[in-house]
Amino acid sequence: MLELLSYSFMRHALLAAALASLACGVIGSFVVSRRLVFITGGIAHTAYAGVGLGYFFGFNPFVGAVLVSLLAGVGLGTLSDRLKQAPDTLIGIIWAVGMALGMVLVALTPGYAPDLLSYLFGSIMFVSLQDLWLMATLNASVLLVVWHQYKAFLAVSFDEEYSAVAGLPVRFLQVLMYALISLSVVLLIKVVGIILVIALLTIPAALAKMFVPSLKRMMVQASLWALVFTYGGMFLAYAVSSIYQVQVPAGAMMILLAGAVYGVALVGRKRILSKS
């Protein structure tokens, strides 16, 4: 096992997972307690349009994903009121359109066809040093903003209308929150992929919500759960791969592990509650 650490791709994978876990715990806690899971899914899938743009116009697809998901997140945050459309309708639309645009642009790009599956399910074993720096920077900005504006975010997340009356810049804080969610989504795409991003933002925070009563503690515990799932998933992928002599995607294993733990916690908690 330990000789794996001598490979740089393995060290990169572990670092990337740790960075992602921190963002998952913090942003996921907002996503779960504010019920923004669907919006997160929308942003994650729209990001694929950015990937397509990157390939088509020849710039880093990761940068494309950052730009498009930011645009989608901030757009959803500001437009759903103004367009008088139900937010979930808009989310459903950008979800599908973003994905389709990405597919078409990738198909139109001549030469090497990028691996769609690696964007859908992540490619944690292929994280470059440059990716790591990018992730670290994104992570640092997300955490810094949340730390600085924690109380305002808490207030707006809990009770938007009261916050407006109290004089908080509610609209601005909301847009900022959507921007942070978008950045975190992109951060996670590298590790677990577009489809599974939702799980890592949702399951650790939902688990933590079962055990702790405050948002702050939820963030800490969710980060720890995310770490357990990402590292555990990688280990499971390694173990299963060596048993079956085939390549098993680590991202998918992380989610299966997280889903299993969540299920066990849910059932166990119900048992405990019904006994007491």
């Binding site: 806690s29 307690s33 019920r35 109380k151 305002a152 808490l154 207030a155 997340s157 809990f158 009770d159 938007e160 209308e161 009261y162 916050s163 407006a164 009356v165 109290a166 004089g167 908080l168 919500k209 702790v212 009563p213 405050s214 948002l215 939820m218």
Partner: protein, 258 residues
């Protein structure tokens, strides 16, 4: 020329939702001593009226003033207690954190120190008998406790007026009495507007009552005339006034406001 300076004023305010008239030419003056209860059927526009006052809903026509200015500029001076169903009562947040929200903008504006902020929060919580449950998550509170936490949050802003939306909805009579006693005490300093569907209880405490049902039937008095109720609720309601001037017993009490 005005003789009494009013804290809040609606003048000919109409509100439409998708063309549907929610409030029709409503006018109201709130003086500094006011303790007004707004009653009326569900969907009659009580909540809309206070949302207009707070600048959360802009009127289709008419004029709104809060402390002589646009509500959006002055609403931070109001202590607002929203309906409990306007937020998620299972949100992971403690009583103390809720009350601290009240100090948030205040804190920044006046550059209070963290110590002073803490003391303010402690004071308000003690005043509303919340000290023992300060660290409890709000999901575990009773209806009365949650309402007191929301009132504490409103008071932590050191408000110049209090606006409450259904502060006694679905809580037990003892807790209702406790809340209104707090409000009575506060009314010695600041004006209060409260929305309620419980005519019997509010009439014991407030100074004036208005009925809202698209129109506002308000005569700056505590008397509710049968005509007022009939107009507001759309059905005749018996008033039992003899010997109990503050009690209103409605035969149709359950009508229109389940």
């Amino acid at each position: 020329m005005e003789t009494i300076k009013s804290c809040a004023r609606l003048h000919g305010v109409s509100v439409r939702f998708d063309g549907l008239l929610a409030l029709d030419e409503v006018s109201l003056d709130v003086d500094p001593q006011a303790f007004i209860a707004l009653i009326g059927p569900n969907g009659g526009g009580k909540t809309t009226l206070i949302r207009v006052l707070l600048g959360l809903q802009s009127p289709a026509s008419g004029k709104v003033e809060l402390f002589g200015e646009l509500p959006t500029r002055t609403r931070h001076r109001v202590g607002y207690v929203p309906q409990t169903r306007s937020f998620d009562s299972n949100f992971p947040i403690s009583v103390r954190e809720v009350v601290e929200m009240g100090c948030l903008t205040h804190f920044k504006k006046r550059q209070h120190g963290a110590h002073e902020l803490c003391r303010k929060v402690d004071d308000v919580m003690a005043q509303l008998e919340l000290t023992d449950i300060a660290e409890r998550p709000i999901g575990t509170l009773s209806g009365g406790q949650l309402q007191r936490a929301l009132i504490a949050r409103a008071l932590a802003t050191e408000p110049e007026m209090l606006i409450l939306d259904e502060p006694t909805a679905s809580i037990d009579p003892h807790a209702v009495e406790m809340i209104y006693r707090h409000l009575l005490e506060l009314n010695q300093r600041i004006p209060i507007i409260t929305v309620s569907h419980d005519i019997g209880v509010v009439s014991q405490y407030v100074k004036t009552i208005g009925c809202v049902n698209q129109h506002l039937h308000y005569h700056a008095s505590k008397e509710i005339t049968p005509a007022m109720l009939e107009e507001a609720y759309g059905c005749p309601i018996d008033l039992l006034a003899h010997g109990q001037p503050h009690r209103v017993l409605g035969e149709h009490k359950g009508h229109g406001h389940a």
